[in-house]
Assembly symmetry: C2
Homo-oligomer: 252 residues x 2
DNA sequence: GCAAAAGTGTTCGGGCTACACCCATGG
DNA sequence: CCATGGGTGTAGCCCGAACACTTTTGC
């Protein structure tokens, strides 16, 4: 019986400005290796599992600042070729600007999800310049005695392993939960950011457009205005803000 | 490197009615063995981890209906005497009425928590007729590079293992989160219940008194009234309600 | 000038809180 | 009758959604 570690690494990519009058588009991204799998790490017995995960991330990207939390431990042998394995997944958020190196077997993929709420179905497209992976994942509510159990499964064929698809699905659900209750949104951004950049993080995670006037009011207590002003497009310049540390006490 | 399973089993106890004019008191309870530890189970390689946990619960209590979810996987060797072990904890909710047997090395303990929000400290008392376990657990916010990491630790001495205390703490946080977003409250109760019973579940988990008039309105869409009427105390009889299955779609 | 985003203010409605009030019961 | 909980109705408040409106920029 072996234990392996897995890394579900999220990032937000700033696309190029296509029009001096338009905003830069942002995309939620995920990291996969050349086999459409998540980066793995060894869990050795002399160290904390979490520290093993952190060491692996630091080694891969020469990065020193990132968000990490345990996502889930997978022990369903139906998903594996190797039935003697248990996999523990860590969710990671990195700001690509902090990366100093990226191994060439790994690549970021834009995530595009079309939710079909009526059918409890998600159409997922993972893509970058070189490759495109498509799959449909379904959430099934199963009565288990008097309780309800939700399971996810891939509908049809796909070039991605079913467990990986489920891990991504679980990770996005976790992001959606965390973004409402913690400050993880800031982990995607530089220390200084514009309100619109922050709003874009909320939008790509929640997968819906927000009204900026209302968003500003909602996050106002969470941020502090700086003196920095960004003036690089054909519209009114914006202030940069930083996270308001005072706000942390709300979660202790 | 071994993997062991752990069960954090919650239940709600109905105390005896002390006065025909007063309500029955409810207490949140937890199950510990004679060494103040959580029941363990083996993770074997032919089965799902979750199924191993379920089998163990069914074997221990001869029960067939309970709520179960994975809580966390603990891999910090500082907590163990045996540093070659990883522990995966499942959170379980059982209704004691469904239990047909209870092994005599296991016992339920009332949980009493006094939150001291200013000091980020919890005073915990676990007690039953035979035994009392006290400890203080502290939540420490540690800056880790630009992110914040929260860790819990026992302050002072206690007859309970630090990891067990942390697991209980994590489990209660999970309950508090789940009770707001899912129907887990109903897992503590019979199929039919009074609104006050349901309110008591919310109160013991959230550890605060609720205004019953407002509670009724809040949970109204979640329940359906039955014809059953309870008439066993010196006040107006109450209707029994059941969970409204229609409400489930909100979470799919 | 114009299109686009930055930023402010106002209105409206739903949900939560507090609280007043009546009902039904056993002793 | 009375203490207690069961149950309903209402008024106030806050927060989020919708939207109108002004400001500032590059071209």
């Amino acid at each position: 019986m072996k234990i392996k570690g897995n890394l579900l690494i999220f990032s937000a990519d700033n696309k190029e400005r296509v029009d001096v009058r338009k905003l830069k588009e942002k995309k939620l991204q995920i990291l996969l290796d050349e086999n459409n799998e998540l980066p793995k790490f060894e869990v050795n017995n002399q160290e904390y599992i979490k520290k093993s995960a952190e060491d692996e991330i630091e080694k891969l990207f020469e990065i020193s600042n990132f968000y990490i939390e345990q996502l889930y431990t997978w022990g369903d042998p139906n998903y594996y070729t190797n039935k003697e394995e248990i996999i523990i997944t860590y969710l990671v958020i990195i700001n690509k600007k902090n990366i100093n190196n990226i191994p060439n077997n790994l690549a970021f993929y834009d995530i595009c999800i079309k939710d079909d709420e009526k059918l409890s179905l998600q159409n997922v497209i993972l893509s970058n310049e070189k490759k495109e992976i498509r799959y449909k994942i379904e959430t099934v509510a199963k009565r288990k005695r008097e309780n309800i159990e939700y399971t996810n499964k891939i509908v049809g064929k796909s070039s991605i392993n079913e467990l990986i698809a489920i891990i991504i699905h679980t990770g996005i659900k976790r992001l959606r939960n965390r973004i409402e209750n913690t400050n993880i949104a800031f982990s995607f951004l530089d220390k200084e950011f514009t309100i619109t950049e922050l709003q874009q993080i909320y939008e790509i995670i929640q997968d819906k457009k927000l009204v900026s006037a209302n968003f500003r009011k909602k996050i106002e207590p969470m941020v502090k205005k700086t003196e920095i002003i960004v003036k690089d497009a054909a519209y009114r310049p914006s202030n940069k803000y930083i996270f308001n540390e005072e706000f942390l006490k709300n979660w202790v």
